[in-house]
Structure formats: structure tokens, C-alpha cells
Assembly symmetry: C2
Amino acid sequence: MSVYDYVLTQTNFVRKDDLNYPFEERGLQFGDGIYEVIRVYNGKYYLINEHVERLYRSAEAVRIELPFTEKEMYSHLDELLNKNNIESDAKVYLQVTRGSAPRDHSFPLNTTANLYAYVQDLPRKMNIMREGVTTITEPDVRWDWCYIKSLNLLPNVMAKQTASEQGCFEAILHKDGEVTECSSSNIYLVREGKVHTHPAKKNILHGCVRMRVEQFCKEESIPFIEEAFRVEDIQYADELFLSSSTAEVTPIIKVDGKPVREGMVGEITRKMQEKYEQDAGIIESASIFAKEV
Amino acid sequence: MSVYDYVLTQTNFVRKDDLNYPFEERGLQFGDGIYEVIRVYNGKYYLINEHVERLYRSAEAVRIELPFTEKEMYSHLDELLNKNNIESDAKVYLQVTRGSAPRDHSFPLNTTANLYAYVQDLPRKMNIMREGVTTITEPDVRWDWCYIKSLNLLPNVMAKQTASEQGCFEAILHKDGEVTECSSSNIYLVREGKVHTHPAKKNILHGCVRMRVEQFCKEESIPFIEEAFRVEDIQYADELFLSSSTAEVTPIIKVDGKPVREGMVGEITRKMQEKYEQDAGIIESASIFAKEV
């Protein structure tokens, strides 16, 4: 997963080894910053508008003044791919912190935001999308404002690590039994032909792929029901799947050691994957379905 | 508030301008780290054991392996003061992150923690301790594990900023009306000669000065009651005060624009301040009380 050499900053492009952070950085001392991870297929951004718009929403919520206008942001992000000659599947990690200032919880209003964005190879995870992943359930101990895509990710880190050490791909988070999302993805339960997911309130991330899943359901006349389901509802699920920019649409075939739908991937999940590939303009040979024909 | 030149890192002492953080730093990308702020009076640490022990507890809770044994930590922290010739009142900011690794929520187990600690001048805030501070109340939107002194401080930052822009010193945080603590201090309500404060559960920081306040109460036979009080109880408070390593014991004289005890500082608060000064070995001339005599 190599990182490409040219990194976009708030002032210019630098080589990644030349990137330097000042001594007192609010991102480093308070997690006082926001980020996006943007998917690139065949050298082209997917859902770039959704990501950039969310970045600006996050920035507004925490009152970070972004160093670029939205128009400049699009242009710089394009240049980031061009400078690095990206033609394959990749992701862009983009982070903005409030900037550098003597350490104090309250913030000066005149700091200059520190931005950096870099490109990294990201081949599609065909195996897990084809075969599905295993998960565990974990209490959601995160803050109340997870709709802000902030750098305060320690609870997500701890939950993901717990999953990982049990050989699982994700941790399904719940508040007192009510499923919110996963540690780095949104989650959906299918029952009787309907897709259920937590409403896009302040306590979950409003995923860019989640927005597409909602649209895919609409196009296919599949009811998309924004009501939280509970951990104990999972045993009655016909299908369970997750979505994120890096995991796309991925089936969940096991939760806390118990198979979902006897470990088989369901047809609404497959339909979502198919529509995702169409939507992202993924070429036939790379398709999840290509090898099943 | 100048920062002294020598900075302790995990490997050696460096000049502060030479400190450099690697490209992918988990502290910067996830807030994946912990910290302490340790008070120094006349060139000597106050409550150093409490701070170092809490650092190790935080590290254990998030599974960060500290680069030093506790014994080495004390020795390096002493050297930090010596190298910078600290003889006055100051604070040490000490931060440890999980280290650098390609960005992924789950963490490799073999990273080397990045540590840095620096010294900054910190004169005692005599005015606010003598006269008291004003506060606002704000919902506590933080995560459930605030006993870990982590770098995930964005909610604290936002609450403190809101207070600050209303000309107030602190934000009193509450979960559904139940007062937990302030954005960067613990809080105590005095009523009928008893001190009430939120129990040291997982959702508040177990303040080092809070431990001393408990001890001071014990020594003075003042009941120290670890039961949460509610926002609406504040109107019946005889006294209200807060504590932290930088604010010591500070009276609160106003909450959301309404005076506490008609804006006068109460006697239990003064007793706590007096005992704090004794405990910290603060010399007479710098005392809050010196000028009142």
C-alpha cells in the first residue's frame, strides 16, 4: 500500500519526506481536526462531491476555516492525482487541523489550518466483498457527534482492534443494544425485502456510500427504513451488510460467532454491490460478479 | 508563556525546533495517544507520582506501551527540569502516542510509541483563584471513557471555546442534567458543610488535584460525597468550586449568569485553597491569602 510521493498541503505540494508538523499542533494535541478518505477508481475520484461537501460540513461544525474554497479544493485534489500519475485504484486521505498555537483548550480565531492530503494504492478487496466478513458486537462508547468526521477516533480504534484480534473484520457498535454503525462503516439489516439502518442523526457518520445505498434502494423499489435495529434483531436478519469508501458494499456473514443466513450472501446485498459497481463505473473485468459468470 | 528549549522524547533530549513528527502519526490521525499536564512550583514537581501513575493507567487502558519504565520516567522528567534550569512556576506537558504506522484503525503491535514532554512557564493565576470565575453549563457530549486522559479532546475544546466566547472561564458539563465535570477540571458543590462531586467512574477524569481535595476534606472532617449533583441543584449551592493542575482550587461565582452565594467565595473553598498551598509547599509570599492578611 505505497504512499505516492507528492502531498498536497495548505500552501503547496511537497514531497512526503519533507512534510513537517510544527511543534504545537492542535491536531496532535487535541485531535482538533477533520478528515476524509476518498476512493479513486482507475485514476478517477468516486463520490468526490459528497466527500468535499461533508468535509465542509464537518469544518463548519467545529469552526475550522478551510484554507481553500470548494472550487479550489476540487482543483487541488485533481492536481494531486495528476502530479502522482494515478491511473489505478487508490484512496486519498485528506486531513485538516485547526493549526498550530500554544496549547490551550479554547482556540485562537486566527490560526491557519494545516492541511495535508496524500494518495495511497488501494486495490479492491475482492475476496471479502465476494465472500463476506465476520464481525463482533461492541458497546458504542464514542461521543455524541459522530456525524462530524473528526480525528477523535480512539474509541473506533479500540473497537476495530478488538475485532481484529478475534479474527474479525469489523466491530458492530451499539448503544444499550441499539445498533448505530460499525467502527469504520455503516451497517444495514435486511429483513423481508426491506433494508433497515440507523437514521442519519448526530450519533453516526453520514456515510457517502450510505447515501448511494439509499439511492440504489430507491431505484430498485426496495424500502430503505431509517430506524435503528437492535443487536438481538440480528438473529432474525435475512441479510446483513456494511458500507464504506474503502469496503464498498461488503456482506456480513457472521456476528459474534453466529452465522447470518447460514453464512450465504443474500440477494439484496448482491444487488447493492452490482449497483455500486455500475455507479462507480467499475470495468467489467474487476467486477465481483465477473468470476461468478 | 514561553516554552523552554529542551524537549524530552522517547529516545533523547532535542531542541524544540528540531522536533519532527513522522508522516503517518497515529496521534495526529486518530488522536491515538495519552497525555499529562504536571504542575511545577519553584522548580519542583507537585503530585508527580499521581500523574505518572495515571499516565501508566491510561497507557494500559489503550494498550500503548510506554518507552520508559516508571523509574526511568521519573528520572527523565527530573532531567527535563534540570536541563531547562527550571526554578520557577511552570508546567510540563507530556504526551505519548502509539507511534507511526500506515493508516489503519486497528494497530500493529510493534510500533514504537512517540513521546514528547516540554516545559512551559506557568505563573499561578492569583486573580481568578482569589476572586473566582464565571461559568456556563453545556451538554457533555464526550465519549464514555473520560477516565483515560486521551488526546481525543475535541468536545472539551468546543465546550471551552463556547465558555470562553461568553467571557467565562469554564463550561460545566452535564449528561441529561447530571453534572459530570468541567471541560478541563473537576467540579464540587458545597451544601450544608458537605462537598459533593461526581463519583470517579469511567465517564470523568480522575483528577490528581481531585484526589487531594478528597484527602483535604478527610483531614478537615468535611464529608466528601461522591454522588453526582444536577444542574438544577446549583441554585441551592452554598459554594461551588473546581480543581485542576493548572487552575488549582478555583471558586466558581457565577453559572449561566446567575451568582453562586451572591458572588462571594465560601469558606470551604478557601479552606481547600489554603490546604492546597500547604500541600504544594507554596511559599508564603505567593499565597492567595498573603494579601488578605
